[in-house]
């Protein structure tokens, strides 16, 4: 597997950690094991959970450039807009170029949506899969 690239300098970033999952944010710690995605009522959220990161897998759609590093550990409170800005910088896209992010290959969450909430509801196998595209893929 290719060596994960350092995050762009405009984002505060620590050294890449873990196997194949690079850090997106100031915390240089190793990846946290992700909780089970099939949540059923009755599970108490552990304290400090909000600070833990979740695994995000980024998949390109159509002729959108593919990210060299696809798997990222992201803070739960990071927004979709924050992720869009990061991907655009990473792919060296112009600020005016649009980027759309989709969940479940079906809906584009609001830019102010937190990834943590999306992971809680739509994560599977310990990660949240997000598709990104320069044009509207699923309306």
């Amino acid at each position: 597997m290719a060596e994960p690239e350092r995050p762009p300098t405009s984002l505060t970033g620590g050294p890449a950690a873990g196997e194949g999952a690079a850090e997106l944010g100031p915390d240089p710690n190793a990846l946290e094991p992700a909780p089970s995605a099939a949540v059923s009522p009755g599970t108490e959220e552990p304290t400090g959970d909000a600070k833990k990161k979740i695994d995000v897998l980024l998949k390109a759609v159509g002729d959108t450039p593919i990210m060299k590093t696809k798997k990222w550990a992201v803070e739960r409170t990071r927004t979709i807009q924050g992720l869009i800005d990061f991907i655009k910088k990473f792919l060296k896209l112009v600020a005016s170029e649009q980027l759309f992010i989709y969940v479940n290959q079906s809906f584009a969450p609001s830019p102010d949506q937190e990834v943590g909430t999306l992971y809680e509801c739509f994560g599977s196998d310990g990660k949240l899969v997000l598709h990104y595209c320069k044009s509207q893929a699923w309306g």
Partner: protein
Amino acid sequence: MPLVRHSTWGDRNKPSHESIDLLIKQRVWGISKEEQSLKFSISLVKEKLQSICAALSTGRMTDDKDVLRDVWFGRIPTCFTLYQDEITEREAEPYYLLLPRVSYLTLVTDKVKKHFQKVMRQEDISEIWFEYEGTPLKWHYPIGLLFDLLASNTALPWNITVHFKSFPEKDLLHCPSKDTIEAHFMSCMKEADALKHKSQVINEMQKKDHKQLWMGLQNDKFDQFWAINRKLMEYPAEDNGFRYIPFRIYQATTERPFIQKLFRPVAVDGQLHTLGDLLKEVCPSAITPEDGVKKNQIMIHGIEPMLETPLQWLSEHLSYPDNFLHISIIPQSTD
């Protein structure tokens, strides 16, 4: 707000529609001392009379559909005032409007924009945005949610300040056109169906059906909207409800924007989960302890449904057009 109590639920799977319906019809509309427009005051009186007549006539069996209509046609009397630092060529009169609870600010305020732009110079106008007591109002949240969360326990009309400059980038999303609202609305509907039906129902629909949902909302056409939306409220005969309930719980006092989690409407033993069950699971601090004083109101569409109400029924009848239950937790009113 007084709660209507019923000792029996009747049909086990349905709560008393009458109690919810009555609560909605009894939402109190005060008549503001400040209203200037005669048309505005007449429509307020009309609404009040309609509510009273409806409340008097609930001797008959209330249909579930009545609740759907009550929710759809809910209105909030609002007074729009131009921000004092905006540059105007002459005095800007306030503008009064009855806002639909189930719609979005930027979808229903074209007249407000036109009214204030008449007294301003073109160069002083950029994107319109709204604020209540210093809080920028997110246009992508339904109007009724914003009101319940921020202003439900203050006197009517709802006083909103209109701005045309210094757009608060950190707090608000831009809304360049109606297409932006449509895209946001459809995305919420798709997210809701992903939770309810693994997206199967909404994906089976044709593009024209999606368009009809949006047009129904945009043009305030209840029948047009529900002709399609009713399909999103169905579930397989062998199940007792949706896969998961689309809900968001908001609290003005917390840092996080809202709580949204996976929650099933039916327990493993087949019992229907209630609103109280949901809160106990995802927001236990909102529930009043046994001997405690009630600190919070749990509000949907301006009313407090009983905590024993089955969540599945709430999802089918008290969701917003985007198919989400937007629930506000606010400090208990003192009157």
